[in-house]
C-alpha cells in the first residue's frame, strides 16, 4: 500500500476484459495515461466505451485476468479508497430534483464526509455561478444550470480524476460554452477521461485519443501525434465497422 500514489500515471490499463459467456464487451484493452492528461474516448455505439468508463470508475468489475489501476489504486482491490478521488459528470444530472441546490451538495458532501462543508459548498456554488439559486429546487433549473450544479457536485471532494460521460449531450450552445470554461479552469491539476460522440469537441480538448470498436483498442495516440485526416479516416472506418 505504501507506494500507491507514487505513480506518474493516472491510468494503467492492462488486458482489461469484460466477458460474459460468449459476449465480450471489452477485449484485452491496454493503455497508459499520464497524470494531468485529457483522454477522449471515441467509438461507435456498443463499442464498450461506457463499459470501459464504468470499469475504470469502479462501478463494474472487470473479468479475471484484467488489471486496471487508476491513480495507482487497483479498481477492484482498492475500489473504496479510489472512489474518494473520482468525480463524475454525466449526461444524467445525478442530482435529486426535489432537493434544493444547497441540499443536494450537502448530501453529497456528507457522503464524502467532507470537513467544513458549508464553506466548500458556498465556494463551489459561487464558482459555478449558482449561489443566488442555492435555495431553489433543482427541478426548477434549466438544463445548463443543472449541468453547472453537476460540476459543482463532482468537484466537492476535489477529485484527482474526472470522468465525463457525454457531458455535452442535450446542452444548448450557451451551456456548452459555460461547461467549456469551467473545464478550462480546472484543466491544470486534474486528469480527465471523456466519452463523447462529438468528434470535434473531443479532439479539441484532448491530449490523448482512444478509439474503441467491438471492445478493442483500434487507436491510441497522443494528440500531437495525430494527423487529423488519418484520424478521420480511421474513425469513419470504425464507425462503419460498428454498424452491422
Amino acid at each position: 500500500m505504501s507506494d500507491i500514489n507514487e505513480t506518474e500515471f493516472a491510468l494503467e490499463v492492462r488486458d482489461v476484459s469484460r466477458t460474459f459467456g460468449a459476449r465480450k464487451a471489452l477485449n484485452k484493452v491496454s493503455f497508459d495515461l499520464p497524470k494531468g492528461a485529457f483522454l477522449s474516448i471515441f467509438g461507435p455505439n456498443g463499442a464498450g466505451k461506457t463499459t470501459l468508463l464504468r470499469t475504470l470508475s469502479t462501478l463494474t468489475q472487470p473479468s479475471r485476468g484484467s488489471s486496471a489501476k487508476v491513480l495507482g489504486y487497483d479498481v477492484v482491490k482498492d475500489a473504496v479508497e479510489l472512489r474518494e478521488h473520482i468525480g463524475i459528470i454525466s449526461h444524467n444530472s445525478l442530482l435529486y430534483p426535489d432537493l434544493t441546490a444547497q441540499e443536494n451538495l450537502e448530501f453529497f458532501a456528507e457522503l464524502y464526509c467532507i470537513e467544513h462543508e458549508q464553506e466548500r459548498i458556498d465556494e463551489l456554488l459561487t464558482a459555478v455561478g449558482l449561489k443566488h439559486r442555492s435555495l431553489d429546487l433543482v427541478r426548477t433549473f434549466s438544463r445548463g444550470m443543472t449541468q453547472r450544479l453537476s460540476i459543482a457536485r463532482a468537484l466537492l471532494a476535489d477529485p484527482e480524476i474526472i470522468f465525463l460521460d457525454e457531458p455535452y449531450s442535450g446542452l444548448d450552445p450557451h451551456a456548452m460554452d459555460i461547461l467549456d470554461q469551467l473545464i478550462a479552469q480546472i484543466r491544470d491539476r486534474h486528469t480527465f477521461v471523456m466519452v463523447s460522440h462529438d468528434l470535434e469537441k473531443g479532439l479539441e480538448l484532448c491530449s490523448h485519443a482512444l478509439i474503441l470498436a467491438k471492445g478493442q483498442v483500434v487507436l491510441f495516440k497522443e494528440r500531437k501525434d495525430i494527423d487529423k485526416e488519418e484520424f478521420n479516416k480511421v474513425y469513419r472506418e470504425t464507425v462503419g465497422l460498428g454498424v452491422s
Binding site: F20, G21, A22, R23, Q61, S63, S244
Partner: protein
C-alpha cells in the same frame, strides 16, 4: 473448450435416465403389489383426545368412526400408494432446488456464465418435480380427505415453492441485460431457497384448524419401494438436468460460431 468430454456425461445421463425410469417403475409395481396394505398411521385415540390434539395426529373428520369409545383411522389404500411418489418427488425437488441455489452462490462468487446456466436449468428441473409433487399431493388429499385442496402445511409450502420458482422464471424474462439477469436471478434463487424451509416451519406451528401430517413409521416392506422410488427419481432428475446442460452448452457454442462467422 470441452469437446470430447461432453459426450461422456451425456452417455451417463442416458443410462441414468433408463435406470432411474426402471427403478421408479419397479417401485410403482412394488407399491401396488408386494407392499402390505398398511393401515398407515392407525391411531387409537379416545374421542376427547382426538378433538383436542388435531395438530399432532392425522385426523380426517369424515373417516372417524368411533368403536368402543376409541377411534380407529384406516387410511384408504390408494392414497397410501400415492404417498410413495409424493414424498420422493417432494424431497427430490427440494434437493434439486438446493443444487440450483448452490450454483447461484457459485455464480455470485465467480461470475462465470456457466454457473448461472446450471442454476437456471436446475431450477427448471426442480420446478418439474414440484409440479409433480403438487399433482400427487392433490390426488392424495382428494383420496384421503375427499377434497381437492387443503391448506395443510406441506402442500401450502409446496405451493409457495412453486410460486417462487414461477417468479424466478418471470424475473429472468423481464430483464434484458444478460449479466443483470444472471445476478438478479441468482440473488432471488438464494432468497427463495432460504424462504422455503422457513415457510415450512412456520406453517407447521401456526395455530389452525388444519392437522399436521405426521409420519408414524412404516413397515419394512413399505420402506423398500419408497427408497427405490426416491433413488430412481433422483436419478431421473439428474439425468434430465445433465441432458439439458449439454443442450445449453451446444447452443452456446453455436452462438459463438455464428458470431465468429459474422466477423
Amino acid at each position: 473448450m470441452k469437446g470430447e468430454r461432453v459426450k461422456k456425461p451425456i452417455k451417463i445421463a442416458i443410462i441414468l435416465m433408463l435406470v432411474g425410469g426402471l427403478l421408479t417403475t419397479a417401485a410403482f409395481l412394488m407399491a401396488f403389489n408386494t407392499a402390505e396394505v398398511q393401515t398407515f398411521g392407525t391411531v387409537n385415540l379416545t374421542k376427547a383426545q382426538a378433538a383436542a390434539s388435531n395438530t399432532v395426529f392425522e385426523v380426517a373428520p369424515a373417516n372417524l368412526q368411533p368403536i368402543d369409545g376409541t377411534i380407529n383411522y384406516l387410511r384408504p389404500w390408494f392414497s397410501q400408494k400415492i404417498f410413495y411418489f409424493h414424498v420422493p418427488f417432494a424431497e427430490a425437488s427440494f434437493l434439486i432446488f438446493t443444487v440450483a441455489a448452490f450454483f447461484a452462490v457459485m455464480f455470485l462468487s465467480k461470475r462465470r456464465k456457466s454457473f448461472d446456466t446450471k442454476s437456471r436449468i436446475a431450477m427448471e428441473v426442480a420446478f418439474l418435480f414440484v409440479v409433480a409433487t403438487m399433482i400427487t399431493g392433490d390426488l392424495w388429499t382428494r383420496a384421503s380427505w375427499g377434497m381437492w385442496w387443503d391448506w395443510e402445511p406441506r402442500l401450502t409450502t409446496y405451493l409457495i415453492m412453486m410460486l417462487l420458482m414461477l417468479v424466478y422464471f418471470v424475473l429472468r424474462n423481464s430483464i434484458e441485460d444478460e449479466e443483470r439477469r444472471a445476478m438478479y436471478a441468482s440473488v432471488f434463487c438464494i432468497i427463495a431457497w432460504i424462504d422455503a424451509p422457513i415457510s415450512f416451519f412456520i406453517t407447521r406451528i401456526i395455530p389452525s384448524q388444519h392437522p399436521v401430517v405426521f409420519k408414524s413409521g412404516m413397515a419394512t416392506s413399505n420402506l423398500v419401494p419408497f427408497i427405490v422410488a426416491q433413488v430412481g427419481m433422483i436419478m431421473i432428475g439428474y439425468a434430465i438436468y445433465t441432458l439439458r446442460v449439454g443442450e445449453e452448452q451446444n447452443r452456446e457454442r453455436l452462438e459463438i460460431i455464428k458470431e465468429a462467422i459474422e466477423n
